[in-house]
């Protein structure tokens, strides 16, 4: 009972927020609605018992992707009013394509039968007595240790590559030197002056 109430709550908010993403006039509001939609989808995942996906959704999509969108929307001066022009002209053809895709999806999903052995014959079957975060951790750091480390190398190379291709040494850049900051004494920088009233320094 509580679960189905929660489901309808999350589902309705997700759908409503998604509609607002594409209809809101202010792009910043769109991004905020997108974040709301992500949070509620995460709630849906938790109801399904997939708490790992819920966490990843929040961390990756809200924490990184939506913030990135926010940067793009706020830093680039995209004229959304202009982009919206001609929306109605393309509505018939766009609507047709969308309808065909929807019909095809319905046909595919309608005829889809999940094989009963599929869940048990996977390379790493889902253990019954563990939460899925626990289960993923258990195989990721043991059976798939090699792949995990390899993926780590890929990320390292991606980072080095991004720095190699974009980082430039500019002249006149002042870098923060923490040791210097800590070593500074008040006596070196502050001079106490007694100013007589009406005279100035």
């Amino acid at each position: 009972m509580v679960a189905s109430l929660a489901f309808y709550l999350f589902a309705i908010i997700t759908v409503a927020a998604s509609v607002m993403v594409i209809t809101a006039r202010n792009p910043v509001h769109s991004v905020l609605f997108l974040i709301l939609a992500f949070f509620n989808s995460a709630g849906l995942f938790i109801l399904l018992g997939a708490e790992f996906l819920a966490m990843t959704l929040i961390i990756v999509y809200v924490g990184a992707v939506a913030v990135l969108f926010m940067f793009v929307v706020m830093m680039l001066d995209v004229n959304f009013v202009e982009l919206r022009q001609g929306f109605l002209d393309y509505l018939p053809i766009g609507g047709t394509v969308a309808f065909i895709l929807l019909a095809e999806l319905a046909m595919v999903l309608g005829g889809w039968i999940i094989s009963p052995q599929a869940a048990s014959s996977g390379a790493a079957p889902i253990p019954a007595d563990l939460t899925n975060t626990h289960a993923i951790g258990r195989i990721l750091y043991t059976d798939y240790l090699y792949l995990f480390q390899g993926a780590g190398m890929i990320l390292l190379i991606a980072m080095v590559g991004a720095i190699v291709l974009t980082h430039r040494r500019r002249k006149g850049v002042r870098k923060q030197v923490i040791a210097d900051q800590i070593a500074r004494r008040p006596e070196d920088t502050i001079k106490m002056v007694k100013v007589e009233s009406g005279k100035g320094i």
């Binding site: 014959s121 390899g150 080095v160 190699v164």
Partner: protein, 491 residues
């Protein structure tokens, strides 16, 4: 629940050593002052020499852990004589090309220490590809290699052609990776495993034709791999990337990744999909023929020597794929021998190309070589030897590479492949011999810059000697290739 056993790290010692070295060198490079040109040149020099030393040490580690077939990391990683042979070849190619690249890097304001580190990363990826025993470890290795190669292709980031090369390679490479992944997911979905051993068992036990999904999956995997070895019809990126990338990078591209990708190609096709050879053999057959023919015809028109080498490498890959198409032990052995000889010929040729410098600027037109025999007779002789060898003229090493391939093809009664191979080899000799003609019989132009850096001279002398005297002592290469092929086919 019992904790799973700690994996046996010994077989992966070379890879582990190389990854730790990468991180150490990164730290050594980052924490040194490289504000001015002189200091960054000094840091680059230091890191490059350390990288070459690291590759040599890795080579010895590979030899020290070599032995009978062993798998580790939950069967994701395999070490067998085939892997040892290919890894040694990759390491030799990578070390030689890094060794000859220093003077170029310093001349072209590319002396940043990340070059050596990224080349090491690419080599690490290649070694992981060669040792892959699962579709997932295949992909991880391939991605480590490709990602590093994209970056070093665009390493001269202020140069339009270099950035263009990097971007082209990146976009097309990402597409190829996508195809490979899609194929892998289809194979996993229809065969129920990603492990090479389990896949081979599954296909051996099932009777009748395999599921359509598996075949489509294999075709996609083939397409992805054919892109990585730059075989026709997935070769389009090769000439542009070879021409645009800085010359030492081109040399690196032409040697080590080719060997690794061909080794991976053989392992995937012969290992898990060995039982389905009816399905993939015709595709490899077509790809081999198309690569040989296009490689020899398209190179004729080229005026840029790096572009010509790109088509030449496409042709060489075509010849190597004949051996894979044969699919038996003799075929695999001939591919390994061919790639072994190819590494030395190509490194030598690129060492010659790195000498084509006039007034501190690289020249890349074939016509610039005119009259080289008058100004630099020894360099001209070396270049001639490499060209003759590439064309497959006896008694040079290149002839034997082709000979073993064609002999194996005749034995396997693949007469069509052998005939087309010989014919395109004859057509291909035209453009190799044209270079010899330009070098010896054309009116001399201005001489190239003196002196040639010592590292390039060393590599030139070494590779020339190997190419010329291979005929007298071919046993080490032939025997180790035979052992490697036996381990791939038998195990």
């Amino acid at each position: 629940m019992p904790m799973s056993e700690f994996p046996n790290l010994i077989p992966a010692m070379p890879e582990i050593f190389l990854s730790i070295t990468i991180m150490v060198l990164l730290m050594v490079g980052v924490f040194q002052n490289s504000d001015t040109v002189e200091t960054s040149v000094r840091v680059n020099r230091q890191i490059l020499s350390l990288s070459v030393i690291a590759l040599i040490v890795t080579g010895f580690l590979v030899l020290s852990v070599s032995g009978p077939t062993i798998t580790t990391f939950n069967d994701l990683f395999i070490l067998d004589p085939f892997a040892t042979f290919s890894k040694i070849l990759v390491l030799i190619g990578a070390a030689l090309t890094l060794y000859i690249s220093r003077s170029y890097l310093e001349l072209h304001q590319m002396a940043r220490f990340e070059f050596g580190v990224l080349a090491l990363c690419a080599t690490l990826g290649m070694m992981m590809m060669i040792s892959a025993n699962d579709l997932m470890s295949l992909y991880v290795g391939l991605e480590i290699q490709s990602l590093s190669l994209y970056v070093i292709a665009a390493f001269r980031r202020d140069d339009l052609r270099s950035t263009e090369a990097g971007l082209k390679y990146f976009v097309l490479g990402a597409l190829a990776s996508g195809m490979l992944l899609y194929g892998s997911s289809l194979v996993y979905g229809f065969a129920g495993s990603t492990s090479f051993a389990v896949l081979a068992d599954t296909f051996a036990q099932s009777d009748g034709a395999p599921a359509v999904g598996v075949i489509i999956g294999i075709v996609f995997i083939l397409a992805g791999l054919a892109f990585k070895v730059s075989a026709v019809p997935f070769h389009m990126w090769t000439p542009d990337v070879y021409e645009g990338a800085p010359t030492p990078v081109t040399a690196f591209f032409a040697v080590a990744p080719k060997v690794a990708a061909i080794a991976l190609f053989m392992r995937v096709m012969v290992g898990p999909f060995g039982e389905l050879d009816d399905q993939w053999q015709q595709i490899v057959w077509l790809v081999a023929i198309a690569s040989m023919v296009l490689g020899s015809l398209a190179a004729i028109n080229q005026t840029n020597i790096k572009r010509m080498m790109a088509y030449s490498s496409i042709g060489h890959i075509g010849f190597a794929l004949i051996g894979l198409c044969i699919g038996n032990q003799a075929g695999i052995q001939s591919v390994l021998v061919y790639m072994g000889i190819y590494v030395f010929m190509t490194v030598g040729t690129f060492a010659c190309i790195l000498c084509m410098r006039r007034g501190d600027r690289m020249v890349e037109d074939i016509s610039e070589l005119a009259g080289l025999s008058k100004s630099r007779p020894l360099l001209a002789l070396a270049l001639t030897i490499f060209m003759f060898s590439m064309a497959g003229i006896p008694p040079l090493a290149g002839f034997f590479g082709k000979l073993y391939i064609f002999l194996a093809a005749i034995d396997a009664e693949l007469y069509g492949l052998a005939i087309i191979g010989v014919l395109s080899s004859v057509v291909g000799s035209f453009y190799y011999l044209r270079i010899v003609k330009v070098v010896y019989f054309d009116e001399p132009g201005d001489a190239f810059d003196q002196p040639i850096p010592k590292s390039i001279v060393t590599v030139l002398v070494g590779t020339t000697v190997l190419v010329v005297f291979f005929i007298f002592y071919p046993a080490p290469l032939l025997d180790s290739a035979a052992a490697a092929a036996a381990s791939l086919i038998g195990g």
